[in-house]
């Protein structure tokens, strides 16, 4: 792909991911030798209608969003979802379980009626997505690796195995052995188990692997001492949309 034009779009999310991209500094410069950024709200205001790769951040939370997404899909050769909200529905889908009217009131106050909000969903629930940069927030390294793959004409290498694989290679003491509770066994790897490396747990921000053994993971959580409700909540934090779909 010769110097493709690239556009960034944001939907419901915290824009933490675009910040990550803006923070790429040096790499972004090298990368900008390869790509041309045409619409990037964090860095520039202008929006152009002409782009090859569209990076989309945030989840789709309103019917109006769907129209905008379809427009983007029409114009872009490749659509890349970046960050949990866009790839798996992310934290946004936590609210899917609550009464949507309540959610609207907490978010928009008295104007709630004016906003037509529905269950938060990942981008691929609305339009086909060509590549994913998982994570909440995404990491520079993975963003770069996905962009490199796209520029080389290669399918980005996103693991199909769970975080435990990376965690074992990093020789961490398992969270369960430290009296904590981890959803790494059902979460898609690719982050190099970064949270566990820092002594915490995996919260599941990269979403479920393709064929998770959810029952077994819940059983493990309960065996190690979580209540059934807490085990279910562990799954809700990030897996809300994926679980609903399954």
């Amino acid at each position: 792909m010769a110097k493709p034009k690239v556009a960034f779009f944001d939907f419901a999310g915290c824009e933490g991911d675009q910040l990550q991209v803006a923070n790429l500094e040096e790499e972004l410069l090298t990368l900008l030798g390869q790509v041309e950024v045409v619409a990037f709200r964090e860095v520039m205001k202008e929006q152009s209608d002409n782009y090859d790769i569209a990076f989309i951040e945030g989840s789709c939370t309103r019917l109006q969003d769907e129209e905008r997404l379809k427009q983007i899909r029409k114009k872009a050769k490749l659509v890349v979802a970046i960050g949990s909200c866009a790839t798996i529905g992310g934290i946004n889908s936590l609210r899917n379980d609550k009464d949507l009217d309540d959610v609207r009131k907490t978010v928009y106050g008295e104007d709630a009626r004016l906003f037509d909000s529905y269950a938060a969903r990942p981008i691929d629930a609305v339009i086909p997505v060509d590549a994913y940069v998982h994570g909440c927030p995404i990491t520079k390294d993975e963003f770069l690796s996905v962009v490199k793959s796209l520029l080389l004409g290669k399918k980005p290498d996103i693991p199909t195995y769970p975080v435990c694989v990376e965690c074992k290679k990093n020789e961490n003491v398992c969270a369960f052995e430290r009296g904590q509770y981890c959803v790494g066994p059902v979460t898609r790897a690719g982050c190099n188990s970064c949270c566990v490396n820092e002594g915490t747990i995996c919260w599941g921000c990269r979403g479920l692997v393709d064929n998770p053994n959810e029952n077994s993971e819940k059983e493990v959580l309960i065996k190690y001492g979580l209540t059934v409700d807490d085990a279910i909540n562990k799954f809700k934090l990030y897996f809300g949309w994926q679980e609903r779909k399954r």
Partner: protein, 638 residues
């Protein structure tokens, strides 16, 4: 046997650390557990540990390791290393030493892995007899808890001093050079060490209900018990923990990683594991071990049967790491084998010890992971998705392949894929690859132009025994892309036509426009020394087809052959074999007259990475060509 006081031992370790020409690692505490790590002082050592998180194999076969570097401008090269410093590893338990000896055998079989042995040969192993045993450890039952081989030095804690057994001259030299006040052991020390060793043998909390020697035979009686494997693997998370922490697991994946220039990068190998979902999945989407039970079963068979048959040892040293790392607690070999034993007993199956396997390990030379640079001299599109590439090695050498062998083709920045050589060895100067666009490498390859560079490793695999086939009648049966490897033999036979008997080619594909080598096929139809029958599964209305319509097996009744003198050579999609073989047997063709070429996921091409395994067989090394009579009993084969 020698003796050294603990103070002097600490001095010895500190002296080793001080010598910057050595790397010194040892067992240290890590978050309530233990791990091998670099030592800054002897005081960090925790020789009273029970088990380390990862085994010391990580020093010889690291989690991530560069095999090859590449640069579009200059090609492929071995990674530059500053030379390997001698590595002293302090505090290795006997079971981990045995595991290293297993790894040595595996990494040296057929061809040696230079990256492994470069580091391994520079290592000095200081073992320690077990003081605390992890509750999952069953090394005593596996005969791996106390040993008198495999180490350079072996320590035994005797309270205020260590007894030292010298296993190798390297160990003795180390003592002479760095240790002070080493004395000869007294009779009571020798006695004490003997006593400690006996105590270790009864420390395990795990109990086998039968003799572990029966494991290989027990396994072979349980392979088909799918209910057994389903029940035991129901909770499997496919997390790979059990294999990633295992001191005798050696499977790896290979990936290319490009830098921001998009022109330079590294080819990296990383630990992989057969429990992971995509381990045996190929680009077409087919997964040869698609379910948890099949993958779960493979691990136990690999440890207890396949490697036993190949090397003569059960590839489990009883460290217990798999058991303690499996969250649903289903990876404990003692538990599984006990269940298996009781199940066979309840079925009245008699388990006798397996006969000693006939171990024939040959090793010759080193593996070369660095591809040779080569040029695409001609590119001929054949169908919408298949192209014939004619390739020339840049160093001017001949590929030197046998019909049926394959090469690993590298595309810069993308990776490597195994592709059969499609041309006959009689063709000199260049060779041909017929490639279908499927995944990363094959798709990118299709975008390359004449004059562009690729990398080539190989030829690999056994190939067809074309000498043996001389004088025989040959019945080629090719389905779709299966023609690619067969063509190398077929063209060889045509070039030596008088040396072979009758030649029949049955070739089928889905529809006329998928027909490969169509011009050559047309020419064949005109020859009278070849019987050629093509077929298509269907013919869409807008295409023309005058030949047979129907799957490949519909051609078999249309040819006559003498089962005595005829050998069938078959290659096609996985689904095809069963049907073709069935029909050929129906025509009285003996099993050993059926020759197949098989496909499996591949990474290394040299019998190391584990991906291509069909039960105990490595397709890349033992195949891809197999005599049906030899593999018909191999359950994963067809």
């Amino acid at each position: 046997m020698r003796v050294i006081s603990k103070e002097d031992f600490a001095e010895f370790v500190n002296a080793l650390i001080k010598d910057k020409s050595l790397d010194v690692v040892g067992v240290k505490a890590k978050g309530g557990k233990f791990a091998f790590g670099p030592l800054e002082s002897a005081s960090e050592l925790r020789l009273d540990y029970d088990v380390t998180l990862l085994p010391p194999k990580k020093y010889f076969f690291p989690q991530r390791e560069t095999l090859v570097t590449y640069d579009v401008a200059t090609g492929f090269a071995a990674p530059k290393t500053e030379g390997v410093k001698p590595l002293v590893i302090i505090g290795v338990h006997p079971y981990d030493i045995v595991a290293l000896l297993h790894m040595d055998e595996i990494f040296k079989e057929t061809k040696s892995d230079p990256y492994y042995f470069e580091k391994r040969n520079a290592s000095i192993i200081i073992g320690i007899n077990i003081q605390n045993m992890s509750k999952y450890c069953f090394a005593p039952q596996m005969g791996c808890a106390v040993i008198d081989y495999g180490y350079d030095l072996m320590l035994t804690d005797l309270g205020n001093r260590y007894a030292i057994n010298i296993g190798h001259a390297k160990g003795e030299e180390l003592l002479n050079k760095y240790a002070k006040n080493v004395t000869a052991a007294l009779a009571r020390d020798i006695q004490l060490v003997g006593q400690k060793k006996r105590e270790i043998l009864s420390m395990s909390k795990q109990k086998f209900d039968f003799s572990p020697e029966l494991i290989p035979e027990l396994l072979s009686k349980t392979y088909e018990e799918s209910g057994f494997w389903e029940k035991h693997s129901e909770k499997c998370l496919a997390c790979g923990s059990c294999v990633l922490v295992c001191p005798t697991c050696y499977c790896f994946d290979v990936k290319d990683s490009t830098d921001l220039s998009l022109e330079r990068g590294e080819r990296i190998r990383t630990w992989d594991g057969c429990l992971l979902e995509d381990f045996a999945k190929i680009a077409s989407g087919e997964n040869f071990r698609p379910t948890r039970p099949t993958r779960y079963r493979h691990r136990y068979f690999k440890k207890g049967k396949y490697l036993y048959d190949r090397f003569g040892f059960i590839s489990c040293v009883g460290c217990g790491r798999c058991s303690s790392n499996c969250l649903p607690d289903i990876a404990n070999p003692v538990k599984l084998f006990n269940d298996m034993y009781h199940e066979t007993q309840s079925l009245g199956v008699i388990i006798a010890p397996a006969p000693e396997p006939a171990v024939e390990i040959q090793t010759e030379g080193n593996i070369d992971y660095v591809p040779k640079l080569a040029t695409i001299v001609k590119k001929v599109p054949m169908t919408a998705n298949e192209t014939l590439f004619e390739i020339k090695l840049d160093d001017g050498s001949e590929l030197g392949h046998k019909p049926g062998q394959f090469v690993e083709v590298s595309v810069f920045g993308i990776g490597e894929a195994p592709i059969s050589v499609s041309s006959s060895p009689t063709k000199k100067g260049t060779f041909e690859l017929c490639v279908r666009k499927l995944g990363n490498v094959t798709t990118k390859l299709h975008t390359l132009k004449e004059g562009d560079k690729v990398g080539i490793r190989g030829p690999f695999g056994n190939g067809f025994d074309y000498e043996f086939l001389k004088g025989k009648d040959l019945l080629f049966v090719a389905g779709g892309l299966g023609i690619a490897p067969l063509r190398s033999l077929f063209n060889y036979v045509l070039d030596n036509r008088e040396k072979y008997g009758r030649v029949i080619l049955l070739y089928g594909c889905k529809e006329p426009r998928e027909l490969l080598f169509s011009e050559e096929m047309l020419a064949l139809a005109k020859r009278d020394d070849v019987e050629f029958k093509p077929t298509v599964n269907w013919c869409p209305e807008n295409e023309v087809w005058t030949g047979n319509i129907g799957v490949i097996t519909t051609l078999i009744p249309q040819v006559s052959f003498d089962p005595e003198s005829t050998y069938a050579v078959i290659c096609g999609p996985p689904i095809m074999y069963k049907f073709v073989i069935h029909d050929l047997k129906g025509r009285n063709l003996p099993d050993d007259h059926i020759i197949l070429s098989l496909e499996r996921r591949m990474k290394c091409g040299v019998g190391k990475c584990g991906h291509c395994q069909i039960n105990q067989i490595y397709v890349c090394k033992d195949g891809p060509v197999f005599n049906y009579s030899k593999i018909k009993g191999v359950p994963e084969a067809l």
